[in-house]
Amino acid sequence: MRTELFTIDHLRPKFLENSERFNDWYFTVHFKHEGKPVLAKFSLTEGSLLGQATHLSFSQAPLDLREEPDALVMKPSSADLSVHPNADFSFAAVEDEVRIEMGDLIAICRADEQRLISKNEQLSADLTFRPRGPILFWNHEPGAECEVTDVTRVSGSESLSEVTGSVTVQGQKMDVQGRGLFERVWFKALNFFEIRWMNWIYAHFDNAYLYLCHCESTTSENQPFHFETGDVYLELEDDLLAGTSLEVMPETWVFFEQVRRFIPLEQSVVMRTDKGTLKLNVRLAHYPQMAQDPARLEGLTINNIPGWGSLFYDGPVTLKGKFTYKDGRVVELVDGVGINEVIRIAPL
């Protein structure tokens, strides 16, 4: 289904009657400040499955990579900001609006636009999000359920948006004319430890935008389980295309010192559609922002394998690539920005 409007029902929190649930209202904006690319992110996450919290971050420093004898090593930047205070959740819904409040953050969501207000002392904002074009839906339809793992059914929407307003970072006000994402996702079951590797990527180009996700997991019966979805919208051609197959492959790796793990520095993506093939190069552009604290689960023994590590971060990325139609036409995709969210859970 093609639409630029949310339904109010999909903006409301879901499964409030369930003790186990996840709801998010997730906002990002990429813009330039004094000629340099920056990224602000504000998320409101409700429910017990991944913890109730708000997460605010601001990325501005270029990635700091050091060549060491046996590995490329990534260093943190003091110029970036990341805070994720716990927050009480409340919501109010009227006929044409859903208002979510968590701590310093307020999300005012309407069918055609969404507003994010942050009253945080370190990172305040007042931003308005309007879809650039058709909203991208998990499994291509509003509210469709995706079998992401054998127990997890995810529904959601990714609205690649034009964003206006202002952000104030540690007292410095920045006017915003940028592009970003408003995401609304919900699910009511999750066995987090079944996940082995997940990539979720959204990207804005001047002539296109896209979203894709794959998740490799293990079932309760210890069998491999694969999930993939994705859509690309080509603006000039006005083509909204659903992914029919997806490959995400790390090309180079970097040692993420803070979490004591190697992570992909560059990844290649191939997504096939009925009309052609999308190929992307995705590269980390700023230091990753942790979605959850990295965990070394020394005390966890699953299937007699002791000691596991859990990593869950949002990597700000730059992207380039092309979409090749089956008739040979090529749409070049340059200067892309987005986020590559990664989950990796593996033995230590």
Binding site: N191, F193, E194, N222, L297, L300
Partner: protein, 111 residues
């Protein structure tokens, strides 16, 4: 230090989570020995589940439980009354778990 009444109530809460409002098992056909070890008081508690129905926990150490959960009694009480998040308790090291992948999923029912 937590008192015995709170610990007993928390154990009862864990047991009741395996039984639905009509008194039927939440996970029918499930047969497991679940051992809780409360490290601060050095106590082992064993709960046998037969065809999904949990027995009253007994203070006893098993040679080979299907699921072993190690934590302080305070953490266990927090998990049962909802003041501590289960996933966070595991990721922060407050809870040590030995289980199969299948049982990790079922543990979400009672943990």
């Amino acid at each position: 230090m937590t008192d015995r009444t709170e610990l007993a109530a928390a154990l009862d809460t864990a047991r009741r989570r395996l039984i639905d409002a009509e008194g039927h098992p939440v996970i029918p056909g499930w047969n497991r020995q679940i051992e809780y070890y409360f490290s601060d008081v050095d106590e082992h508690w064993l709960m046998a589940v037969v065809d999904g129905m949990p027995a009253e926990p007994v203070q006893e150490e098993s040679d080979d439980p299907d699921i072993r959960i190690t934590m302080s009694s305070e953490t266990f009480i927090g998990l049962m009354n909802g003041t501590i998040n289960g996933l966070k308790a595991v990721t922060s090291g407050k809870v040590r778990v030995k289980a199969s992948m299948a049982d990790m999923r079922q543990m979400q029912v009672f943990m």
